[in-house]
């Protein structure tokens, strides 16, 4: 279970407050207006932002002061998810501590429609293709907590549906706990178990 217990974060002088619990294996969509603190919430769980107050814990183990690389978290950022000078396949092989699940990567790439791009460099791909590659790696990594920051933003509606279904199925079959930031209600309906809407001025309401 992922627990954010009375977390206070100050961002550009504005106080943000989070208090929420996510069950293991649950997929939770995070919505809210721009600037309300959706990405900040993900960054706090991932460890890129240290809260002023409060506690982040996973299965009873406190993570609040743990370094980013010591947290059981895999995150998809809004941008810069791929190293531009490495091939797509080389990019996909990063972030696995032991054996790289090559077969699974190829299989999932097939599903997401990017299998013919594995030997290319990221600059040869469209925004949507790059996004699916980042998404694929984030989901396949072994960490139990998955944070997705607008993962479908650059996809057309058909690809969006395929990617959304793939995310839900992969997460559910592997017991991943997912926080998904999205502006689209259809993503919430397709992928998430429930939705949290963040609101001004400072509280996160479940």
């Amino acid at each position: 279970m992922l627990n954010l217990n009375d977390i206070y974060v100050t961002l550009d002088g504005y106080p943000l407050h989070y208090h929420l619990t996510v069950s293991t294996g649950e997929i939770v969509a995070i919505q809210g207006a721009s600037g309300v603190g959706k990405t900040t919430l993900l960054n706090t769980v991932a460890g890129f932002i240290t809260p002023d107050k409060g506690e982040v814990s996973w299965d009873g183990e406190e993570l609040t002061n743990a370094a980013v690389d010591q947290r059981p978290v895999s995150m998809l950022f809004q941008d810069h998810n791929l190293f531009e000078h490495l091939s797509v396949l080389q990019n996909l092989q990063l972030g696995f501590s032991h054996k790289v699940p090559t077969h699974l990567i190829e299989q999932s790439a097939q599903t997401l429609g990017i299998s013919e791009h594995l030997t290319k460099k990221p600059h040869q791909l469209s925004g949507g293709q790059r996004q699916r590659i980042g998404l694929l790696r984030t989901l396949l990594r072994p960490e139990p907590i998955i944070l997705l920051d607008e993962p479908f933003a650059e996809l057309d509606s058909a690809t969006r549906e395929v990617a959304g279904n793939w995310v839900r199925n992969t997460a559910k079959s592997n017991g991943k706990t997912v926080l998904l930031v999205t502006h689209q209600s259809e993503d919430v309906e397709r992928v998430a178990d429930r939705c949290i809407e963040l609101r001004y001025p400072e509280s996160a309401t479940q």
């Binding site: 721009s34 991932a46 460890g47 890129f48 370094a67 980013v68 690389d69 010591q70 059981p72 978290v73 895999s74 995150m75 950022f77 809004q78 941008d79 810069h80 998810n81 791929l82 190293f83 531009e84 000078h85 490495l86 990063l94 972030g95 696995f96 501590s97 032991h98 054996k99 699940p101 699974l104 299989q107 999932s108 599903t111 460099k121 990221p122 600059h123 791909l125 925004g127 790059r130 996004q131 989901l139 396949l140 990594r141 072994p142 139990p144 933003a153 650059e154 793939w166 199925n169 992969t170 559910k172 079959s173 592997n174």
Partner: protein, 551 residues
Amino acid sequence: MTACLSQPPSRKPPLMSTFKLGQLFWLSYPLTVAITLLAFYGLMSFEGDSADWQLLTDGYFLGVLGFTLKQSLISSLASIVFAIPIARALCLLKNARYKQLFLGLCLLCFVTPTLVVVTGLVALLGRAGWLTPYIESLLGNDNWNLYGLNGILLAHLFMNMPFAIRMMYQQLSNIPDTSWRLANQLKLTCWQRFLIVEKPVIQATGLMLFGFIFVLCFNSFAVVLALGGGPQSTTLEVAVYQALKYDFNIPEALTLAWSQLLIAGGLYAGFASFGSPVWQSHEMESRPIRLSSPTLLKRGYSAVLIGVVSILLILPYLALLPGFSLLTSPNSWSLFAHPLLLSIGLGITAAALSLLMAYALLQPIRQQLRQQQNFTAKLLEQVATHQLFAPAMVISVGLFVYLLPRIDLDRWGIIVVIALNAAVLVPFAFQKLKPRLIQFDQQYDRLCLSLKLSPIERWKIEWGFLRPSFISATGLVFVLAMGDVAIFAIFGPSNLSTLPWLIYNLASTYRIPEASAASLLLLVVCAWALWALQIAADKTEIKEKPDRAKP
């Protein structure tokens, strides 16, 4: 379709190794400061002899200082004044390929070892120079003399004006298209366009360039040593050398070195507030620039101007070509082989050391920037590049005075030459590597952390990203080290000679054909190194297409 994953055991990051490595990089700071501190210690005194401050009121000192300031002022002003119309003409040039070639020629002029330029100018405009009869008939007398202020100004102009052209062009090309569109829409006249759109850019760049070129000319050694032509045309830097190596007058050398340090360091610090040019950059966009809607006449004038400047810049190189016949003779090779090998060895070693040092110095700065400790990072950067404030000659003299009673300099001098060359080149390697590494951190630090990469994995990825900049930095640092004269003049063992030092000795004994041949050889090696390494850098260059911009 559902992907099934096994759950591998959690990984413990190798925190200790990261910690130790990070700490090791901090050691580069005391190391880089140590050379300067030893030099300063040497500048304090030598076996009871300290600086002779009476000299500061002496006519000789004032004369040398006056000439140093005069030649620096004229050289830098002329470089800027000539560069402005040429850079503007370059913007109007349509042929992108020729534009790139011209910009490449400008870079070559700036990084060409000084003595190659000097030899080229002597072969062109010296007593028996190709163009000397024409100049004398133009002047109506036979009083033309390259040696003295004439030669110094011409050499400085040849090296610095192309650099100023590159910088001006770069700045003009950064003016957004929207400004030109607006100027067109408002139907501004050419003069109004110049005043409103171009002048602010030219003014800011011009001031920065003026400061930078002034300091370069103030610290000029090889040009003045070779073309100075007597006590009336001596700069502080050459006076320091003469006091130390010819007169062995340590108090005088110390006084002059302190004066050089305080004036040059002060000037650099003052001019640095205008910003510092990224002069090492090979990368130069050649996108079409819409300075205005030029008439056919304007285009023609630009093409002619650029053509004439190209010829003028190529002439000193062409003047070296007769030396080629000497390069085919085995006798000449017995003269050139050892200095050539020594120069290449020295260049490679000094370049490798300076790049490693610069990389090590950058690591703590990156760490501070990642922790948003911007002030500490700025402070560390000042320490890492402090050699920019202290001319190589001053550091050499201080170190020479410090080491003289302690080690056999004739035996170990070459080690000091390598170490000092590496030390003075650190700021240049640093400035070339820094933007790339900072870019890596800004783009990928979060991703590296999120992917839980080990230090080795991260370094491998980082190296792939850094490689193009590293390779092109290697070319530039190597060429600069190859061309060193000042440090070798002080520490070079009497039984050894580098190629530039050989050129100086040949030219100063009026063996111009041999000096031309040696210069040609040095030029070929430097140009080849720059070209080959730039090709290698371009091949590894990363094409980027950023992810969608953050909202």
